[in-house]
C-alpha cells in the first residue's frame, strides 16, 4: 500500500506494508542514514526520531499510524556545510567514537532542548536514559547537549539550521 509521510518538512510517498516499522521506511525507501537499527525492541534508542515534537523509537512504530504527522531525523537538523546547533555542538565536543548511537542521542536531546534549551545536566541525563552508547562516549555527549542548548539560546531558535 502507499502511505504519505511528512519527513523533514517534505511529503514523501512510501510503498510498503502498513505494519512496516518507520525505521525501515526511512532507511530503505527514503534512503536516510541517520536513524539506525539497534535492537528492534525499543531498548537502545539508536533508531530515535522526532514525531510531532516527541522522541519515538522508529523501530517500533508502524508507518500506518504516522500519516499527517511531522517526522524529523538528524538529516533535518542541518548539513555538513550548514550544521544545526545540535550537530555543531557534537562536532565541537568531538562527541563520538564509532558514532553509531549518536544520531539517536541527538534526536532525543533535540526534543528535550526544543522544549527547554536551558535543561540542567540532571534533566539531560534523565532524558537520555533510553539511549545506549557502548563506546562510553557519555561524558562528551552530555557536554555536547549542554553546548547545543547554549547555541540554541544564543541563536534564539528551536534548533533547526
Amino acid at each position: 500500500m502507499s502511505i504519505t509521510l511528512n519527513v523533514n518538512g517534505q511529503d514523501q510517498t512510501v510503498n510498503a506494508d502498513p505494519d512496516t516499522p518507520l525505521l525501515y521506511a526511512l532507511r530503505n525507501d527514503l534512503e536516510l542514514n541517520g536513524p539506525k537499527f539497534g535492537c528492534g525492541l525499543g531498548q537502545c534508542g539508536a533508531c530515535t526520531v522526532i514525531v510531532d515534537g516527541k522522541p519515538i523509537f522508529s523501530c517500533l512504530t508502524p508507518i500506518a499510524v504516522l500519516e499527517g504527522k511531522k517526522i524529523r531525523t538528524v538529516e533535518g537538523l542541518g548539513t555538513v556545510e550548514k550544521p544545526g546547533p545540535m550537530q555543531q555542538a557534537f562536532i565541537e565536543e568531538q562527541a563520538a567514537q564509532c558514532g553509531y548511537c549518536i544520531p539517536g542521542m541527538m534526536m532525543r536531546a533535540q526534543a528535550l532542548l526544543e522544549k527547554n534549551p536551558a535543561a540542567t545536566e540532571t534533566q539531560i541525563r534523565t532524558a537520555l536514559e533510553p539511549n545506549l552508547c557502548r563506546c562510553g562516549t557519555h561524558m562528551r555527549i552530555l557536554r555536547a547537549v549542554k553546548r547545543a542548548g547554549e547555541l540554541m539560546q544564543q541563536a534564539g531558535t528551536g534548533g533547526n539550521a
Binding site: Q43, F90, L132, G136, H138
Partner: protein, 755 residues
C-alpha cells in the same frame, strides 16, 4: 562509495604497476642520524633487518604511501577504523613527516585488493604498527623527494628542506612535490632508520585534530556498512539454531518461499537463510521460517550457578607465565584471594552487518571485520574458492571492541551472495542473534597470594589463572559460525596454549610493574569451549589486572600503608611512577576526606607490560540500603608514548573507563544448560546515563621522541580494580566475584567482619 571500493576499481596490483620511474640510488641509512625509541621490537629474523612498525611485514614504501604526478598523496593502512580514530591519527603521521597540511592526505583503509596485510586491528596496536610504518615511510619519502630535488637543482641536499608540499632551498629555490615525484621510484624497501621530525617541530602531530568522520556521522552521511545501498541490493537474514549444538529436523521452506518479496530460502544442513527484495519482507520471512523450524537440541552448557567450579573442573594444560626461580623469603603476612569473572559480551549497539556481491566469480564482501585478510582466508575456504576470488573491504560498523559478530555476518553475506550471482546481498543480524552468538569474553578464575615481609613490602607473589584462549578469530572457515551448521560442516580450530610477551588469557598476568623478590605465575589453560569465546577488549588483562590490583589493594591495607605510597614503593619504572603521581595528584588523593557511603580506590598497570602506562584514582558512592554502586569521578594519568592526537587518547580512555565500569558493575552473560538466555538489553543490561560519572579527567604524560604505545585497551583492567578497591574502602569488605552487583554488596555488608 569511492572508486577504490568498487569491484574492478583501483587495486594494489595496478597501483604498483603505475611506477616505472627512475630509481634513485640513495642510502637512507647513511643520511639519518636520529631514530625514535620504539617499544620492544619483534625478534629479528636472521636475514632481515628490523624495520619500524608494520614496515617489517610489508617493507615497500609504496605499499603505504603513493604520490601521483599532481602531488596528490594517498596513504594505505591495513588497519580498520573501529571508532578509535585511526582515519584521523594515521594521516596526521603522514602529513607531519611529509610536511603537508592534514587535509592533503587521502587515506585508504583495510582492503585485501589494495592495502597491506596488517592482520587484525586489535590489541591497541594501530598506532604502534601502522602509525609507525606510515610515519617512517613518510619520513623516508620526504628524504627521497629532497634528494631528487637536489639533483634537479644541482645543490647539496643538506641545503634543502620540506615545507608545505614543497622542497625549499636556502637560496629561495622551491619545487613542488609534483615536480620531482615523477622521477622517484617509491617501490623500494624501507630502511631501518628514518630521519623523524623532532616533537618540538611538529605542526600536525601532537595537536588535537578533529576527527574526519564526525561531521558526516552527525548529519546523516553514509558512514557504516549498514548504510550501503548498491543498485539492485537484496536483503538477507539468517535463522540461527536455538542453541550451539542444535540440529535442524524440519522447516516449512515451501510456505516461506511463497511469502511476499521472498527471492530465495536457503537450507544447507542445519543452516537456514532468507533472501528478499525488501528488508521488512526479509524480517517477516525470517520470523516465519524460525517459527516453523523444529530442532534437536543438546544440553551442553555449564551450570552458571557454579561457574568458577565448573571452569576449574574442565581439562587444563598448565603453562608457566612467569617464574623468577627465587624462593619466597621472609614472608610474615599473606593476602590470599580468589577472583572470578563471568562471560561478558562485546555488545555492539549496531548488530553486525555485511554486504556480499558475487560478480564474475569474485565475491566481494563489505565488512566491519577487524581483519580483512584473515576473514578473506576464512571465506575463501568456506566457499571452496581460491583466495584471490574473495575480496574483503573494510567498511565501518558499530564499535566492536574485539571479535564480535562482524566476521560471521561477512561469512553469511558471502554464502547468501552465491545464491544470487550479480546481486548484492545485505545481511543484517537481529539483536538476539548478535547477543546470543557473540564470541564472548570468556569466564575466568584467578587465585593470588601476596606475601608481605617484616618491612611490609611485597616479598612473594604467586598467581594462577584458569582461562580459555581469548582467541577464536578467523583464518579458517570453522571460525565462522554458519560453517558449523552446513551439511558439510567445518571444524572449529583447535585451541592451543600460547604464552608470549603479548599475552592473551595471561595478558598482564606477569607482575612486571612491581619489583618482587619472588614471583610465580601459572596459566591453567582451558581447552574446551562450552560457551563460544574469543577476543574482547584487553583479553585476560581485564580480569588479571582486576585480580592483581585488588590483591595489591588488600596488601596495602594489610601493610597499613597508603594505597598510592604502597604502589610507589614497589614501582621502579619512572614512567609508571609519573602516571601514578599524575592520577593521585589530580584526584587530590592526600587531601581526600572519607564520607558516609563514599570510597576511593586506586589501580595501576602498564597494558601488556609493554604498551601504555595507566593509573587511575576513583571515587564511588554506595547506597547502603540498595547496595547500588555508582562511579562518581575518575582521574587518570596515561603515558601512550609520543602523542599523535591528544583528543583521541582522551576519547579512547574516557570510553574505556565507562565501558569497564559497565562490565564491572553490571555485566554477566546468562544461560541455562542448553541456551544462551542473554538475548537483548533487558537480559544483558549495560550502563545507561543514570550510572555515568560526574567527571572523568585524563592527564596525558607527554613523551616527546618516544615510540607510540597505543591507548585503546589500557583502562579496562585498572578501572575494574580501582572500583573494587573503592568499594572495599567504602564498606570495609571486598568483592571477589564480577560483576560487583548490588546483591553482592549487600551480602558482603551483612557478612561478619574478617578476623
Amino acid at each position: 562509495m569511492d572508486d577504490f571500493k568498487k569491484p574492478g576499481g583501483i587495486t594494489r596490483r595496478n597501483l604498483l604497476a603505475g611506477g616505472g620511474a627512475l630509481v634513485v640510488s640513495f642510502s637512507l641509512t647513511q643520511a639519518f642520524g636520529q631514530s625514535e625509541n620504539p617499544p620492544p621490537p619483534p625478534p629479528p629474523t636472521a636475514d632481515k633487518p628490523t624495520l619500524p612498525g608494520a614496515l617489517n611485514d610489508d617493507p615497500f614504501l609504496d605499499s603505504w604511501i603513493k604520490i601521483d604526478g599532481k602531488g596528490a598523496i594517498t596513504v594505505f593502512t591495513g588497519k580498520a577504523e573501529l571508532g578509535q580514530g585511526i582515519k584521523t591519527s594515521i594521516p596526521q603521521c603522514a602529513a607531519e613527516e611529509l610536511d603537508v597540511p592534514f587535509d592533503a592526505i587521502k587515506l585508504i583503509t583495510a582492503d585485501t585488493f589494495v592495502t597491506p596485510n596488517e592482520g587484525f586491528t586489535a590489541g591497541s596496536m594501530s598506532m604502534l604498527n601502522s602509525g609507525t610504518a606510515v610515519r617512517n615511510a613518510a619520513a623516508q619519502i620526504r628524504e627521497l623527494l629532497i634528494a631528487q630535488a637536489a639533483v634537479k637543482l644541482g645543490v647539496d641536499p643538506a641545503t634543502l628542506h620540506a615545507e608545505d608540499g614543497h622542497i625549499v632551498g636556502a637560496k629561495g629555490e622551491k619545487l613542488a612535490y609534483a615536480d620531482v615525484v615523477g622521477n622517484i621510484q617509491l617501490h623500494v624497501n624501507a630502511q631501518p632508520v628514518s630521519k623523524l621530525k623532532a616533537t618540538k617541530d611538529f605542526k600536525v602531530m601532537g595537536k588535537a585534530q578533529p576527527r574526519v568522520d564526525i561531521p558526516g556521522k552527525v548529519t546523516g552521511g553514509q558512514a557504516f556498512v549498514q548504510d550501503m545501498r548498491p543498485e539492485g541490493m537484496l536483503h538477507g537474514r539468517v535463522v540461527r539454531p536455538p542453541s550451539y549444538h542444535a540440529t535442524l529436523i524440519d522447516a516449512d521452506i515451501a510456505t516461506v518461499e511463497k511469502m511476499p518479496g521472498v527471492v530465495k530460502v536457503v537450507r544447507d544442513g542445519s543452516y537456514l537463510g532468507i533472501i528478499a527484495e525488501q528488508e521488512w519482507q526479509a524480517v517477516k520471512a525470517m520470523r516465519a521460517l524460525a517459527r516453523s523450524a523444529k530442532w534437536n537440541e543438546k544440553a551442553t552448557l555449564p551450570d552458571i550457578n557454579h561457574l568458577p567450579e565448573t571452569l576449574k573442573s574442565l581439562a587444563v594444560q598448565d603453562g608457566v607465565v612467569a617464574d623468577n626461580k627465587t624462593p619466597a623469603v621472609g614472608v610474615v603476612k599473606t593476602v590470599d584471594a580468589t577472583f572470578t569473572r563471568p562471560y561478558q559480551m562485546h555488545g555492539s549497539i549496531g548488530p553486525s552487518c555485511a554486504v556480499g556481491h558475487l560478480v564474475d566469480g569474485v565475491t566481494t564482501v563489505w565488512t566491519h571485520t577487524q581483519g580483512v585478510y584473515p576473514d578473506r582466508d576464512a571465506i575463501a575456504q568456506l566457499l571452496g574458492v581460491d583466495k584471490p576470488k574473495v575480496r574483503c573491504i573494510h567498511t565501518e560498523g558499530s564499535g566492536c571492541y574485539g571479535h564480535n559478530g562482524a566476521d560471521d555476518a561477512a561469512g553469511d553475506a558471502a554464502l547468501l551472495a552465491q545464491q544470487v550471482p550479480g546481486k548484492p546481498v545485505r545481511v543484517q543480524f537481529m539483536r538476539e542473534q548478535e547477543h546470543a552468538w557473540d564470541p564472548f569474553g570468556p569466564g575466568m578464575v584467578t587465585h593470588i597470594k601476596i606475601g608481605l615481609n617484616a618491612e611490609n613490602k611485597m616479598a612473594a607473589w604467586d598467581y594462577e589463572l584458569w582461562s580459555n584462549s581469548h582467541g577464536s578469530r578467523p583464518g579458517s572457515a570453522g571460525a565462522l559460525v554458519s560453517s558449523r551448521y552446513l551439511s558439510k560442516p567445518f571444524p572449529e580450530d583447535p585451541q592451543k596454549l600460547v604464552i608470549t610477551p603479548l599475552g592473551s588469557g595471561d595478558r598482564n598476568a606477569d607482575p612486571l610493574g612491581y619489583d618482587l623478590p619472588h614471583k610465580h605465575v601459572i596459566w591453567h589453560f582451558i581447552k574446551d569451549q562450552p560457551v563460544r569465546q574469543s577476543s574482547m577488549r584487553a583479553l585476560g588483562a581485564y580480569c588479571n589486572v582486576f585480580s592483581m590490583e585488588s590483591a595489591v589493594g588488600e596488601a596495602a591495607i594489610l601493610a597499613g600503608a597508603d594505597q598510592v605510597e604502597f604502589r610507589l614503593s614497589h614501582v621502579k619504572d619512572p614512567r609508571g611512577i609519573d602516571v601514578i603521581n599524575a592520577a593521585a595528584k589530580n584526584f587530590g588523593w592526600t587531601d581526600w576526606k572519607p564520607a558516609e557511603g563514599r570510597g576511593r580506590g586506586f589501580a595501576y598497570a602498564r597494558y601488556k607490560n609493554h604498551a601504555c602506562y595507566l593509573a587511575i584514582a576513583v571515587e564511588i558512592e554506595v547506597d547502603k540500603n540498595t547496595g547500588k554502586v555508582r562511579l562518581v569521578r575518575a582521574n587518570v594519568g596515561i603515558d601512550s608514548g609520543e602523542i599523535v592526537n591528544p583528543d583521541g587518547i582522551k576519547n579512547q580512555t574516557e570510553g574505556g573507563i565507562i565501558q569497564s565500569m559497565s562490565w564491572t558493575l553490571f555485566e554477566a552473560v546468562q544461560f541455562d544448560r542448553t541456551r544462551i538466555t542473554s538475548v537483548d538489553w533487558q537480559t544483558y543490561p549495560i550502563a545507561r546515563f543514570g550510572s555515568i560519572p560526574d567527571s572523568i579527567d585524563i592527564e596525558i604524560v607527554p613523551r616527546p621522541g618516544q615510540g607510540f604505545l597505543g591507548t585503546g585497551e589500557g583502562a579496562q583492567g585498572p578501572t575494574a580494580a580501582a572500583i573494587g578497591n573503592a568499594i572495599r574502602d567504602a564498606i570495609g569488605k571486598r568483592l571477589y566475584d564480577l560483576p560487583l552487583t548490588p546483591d553482592k554488596v549487600l551480602a558482603a555488608m551483612a557478612a561478619p567482619a574478617a578476623a
